[in-house]
Amino acid sequence: MSRVLELDRISAGYGETEILHGVDLHVDKGEIVVIVGPNGAGKSTAMKAVFGLLNITRGQIRLASEEITNTPPQKVVTKGVAYVPQSANVFVSLSVEENLEMGAYVSNEDPAPRIGEIYELFPPLREKWRQPAGSLSGGQRQMVAMGKALMLHPKILLLDEPTAGLSPKYRGEIFQIVKDINAAGATILMVEQNAKQALAIAHRGYVLVDGANRHTGTGAGLIADEEVARMFLGGGRA
């Protein structure tokens, strides 16, 4: 398996505040990798670091074998990384179809054929193509956000808590979608609060605590790990 993304002892933060202290992480082609951990552990921060959204003070980030440490977001997009933020991840006043078109902004090719493929992947969007994305349900908005991110066949898709704020019913649906788009060929790095469900569909997972690696293993392995279970999976949340 070829390595798509590698974080090599990354330290990063906002301004003076360091949040990540030497985090190691990698994603291989075709994998779903999940980052879990308590609030404030730096899960989303790790993802934002990949996307050039904060200052990396030490370490290296490599996409395939190219170094992309501290590359600005607009450049990272053209290199084949797509990022779906946790909230406000669709253009609410643009139609579903226009959102998808914007996903292909950096390309000069006609986006229409790819939009057709995205509709195959997310059938509910086809009927609602003319509606403003803001008028859609939470689950369908996530479909738009993911569809938009998939427009240019990214090497890796970064999902920041895709089920945040969704009801349990939609949560299951979103995890199923993540599985489906992975099966369709997308490599995915995902941050999730609903750790158990997320790990259940993941090939591998990382547990971050206080901005550093705590546990690493296969999705099933982490679910089975007693300490991990006690720390994050208990309490009947998932």
Binding site: Q74, A88, V106
Partner: protein, 297 residues
């Protein structure tokens, strides 16, 4: 009575509304995309009108024939101003850009006054006779021209915003600038397009105002308040809202002087400007997101 209402209140209201609407699109888009209130917008308009005036003197053509050239020249000048005055503040707090725009506003006006003088001027001379239809419906040819040209410009704006890639990117950026950057939209390209569009429409609005009344160095500044009121009414960052807001404010201002009760004007015409102000204050208090749910101030 009905015809008097149409001829002397509603038609002038629509004309004024067209002018406000064209000006407000630029204010609204600048706020949505660059995220600051551009106080220099009014004086950009004035600058374009004076360039039009010079072009008329130079060529002897009709104002509307030379207006597109003036729009293009002004757009280029505004791009230069963006480079010099706003680009250095892109990452700074909004207030820096607002203050920069305030300074720029004073500078543009001084330059205009220096080169063109402060006396009243006219884009067109001679007396305009209204067309009379159906015995008593009277409309000035220039009003037909202004309403017609505004309709054409609005249609062009609509097509640009909904059919072209850059137009969609402008709407996307106005909707959510952070997401636009994460999506890979070239923000600087969108900003340039915004300036070009805003400046061109402002110049068009100014030329229409000059045709309707006269040309003077404070004309753009005086329009700033109703244009902001229109942008707020329509919801900041919503170009269509700005159009609706402009029409509402223009018509409301003119209708406020109509003798709704008895035979005297409801409001003395001198208070017209207060109508826009009152609407703006009321919106900011009760519905700051505007009629069309734009961004809040």
């Amino acid at each position: 009575m009905m015809m008097e209402f149409l001829n002397f209140y509603l038609i002038p209201g629509v004309v004024l509304g067209c002018i406000y609407a064209l000006g407000a699109i630029g204010i609204s888009l600048t706020f949505g995309i660059l995220r600051f209130s551009n106080f220099a917008h009014g004086d950009t308009m004035t600058l374009g009108v004076y360039i039009t005036l010079s072009l008329i003197h130079l060529t002897g053509l009709h104002p509307l024939a030379v207006a597109p050239v003036a729009m293009a020249i002004t757009a280029v000048l505004v791009l230069g101003m963006d480079r010099a005055f706003f680009k250095p503040f892109r990452q700074s707090p909004t207030i820096m850009m607002v203050i920069a725009s305030f300074g720029l506003m004073l500078m543009i006006r001084s330059v205009i006054q220096f080169f063109w003088g402060v006396q009243l001027q006219a884009l067109q001379t001679g007396i305009a006779r209204p067309w009379v239809l159906l015995d008593s419906f009277r409309i000035l040819p220039k009003h037909v021209l202004i309403i017609g040209a505004t309709a054409v410009l609005m249609m062009a704006v609509h097509l640009l915003l909904t059919r072209t890639k850059i137009g969609k990117a402008m709407r996307a950026t106005s909707d959510n600038p952070e997401l636009a950057a994460l999506t890979g939209i070239d923000t600087e390209q969108v900003i340039r397009a915004t300036w070009i569009m805003g400046a061109s429409l402002a110049v068009a609005a100014g030329v229409f105002l000059g045709l309707d009344t006269h040309v003077e160095t404070m004309m753009g500044f005086k329009l700033l308040l109703p244009m902001f009121a229109a942008a707020i009414l329509g919801g900041i960052g919503k170009p269509y809202g700005a159009v609706a807001g402009g029409l509402v404010i223009g018509i409301a201002e003119e209708l406020s002087a109509y003798p709704w009760i008895g035979t005297v004007p409801l409001l003395p015409p001198g208070y017209k400007a207060g109508v826009a102000f009152a609407i703006m204050v009321a919106m900011l208090i009760w519905r700051p997101q505007g009629l069309f749910r734009g961004r809040q101030f």
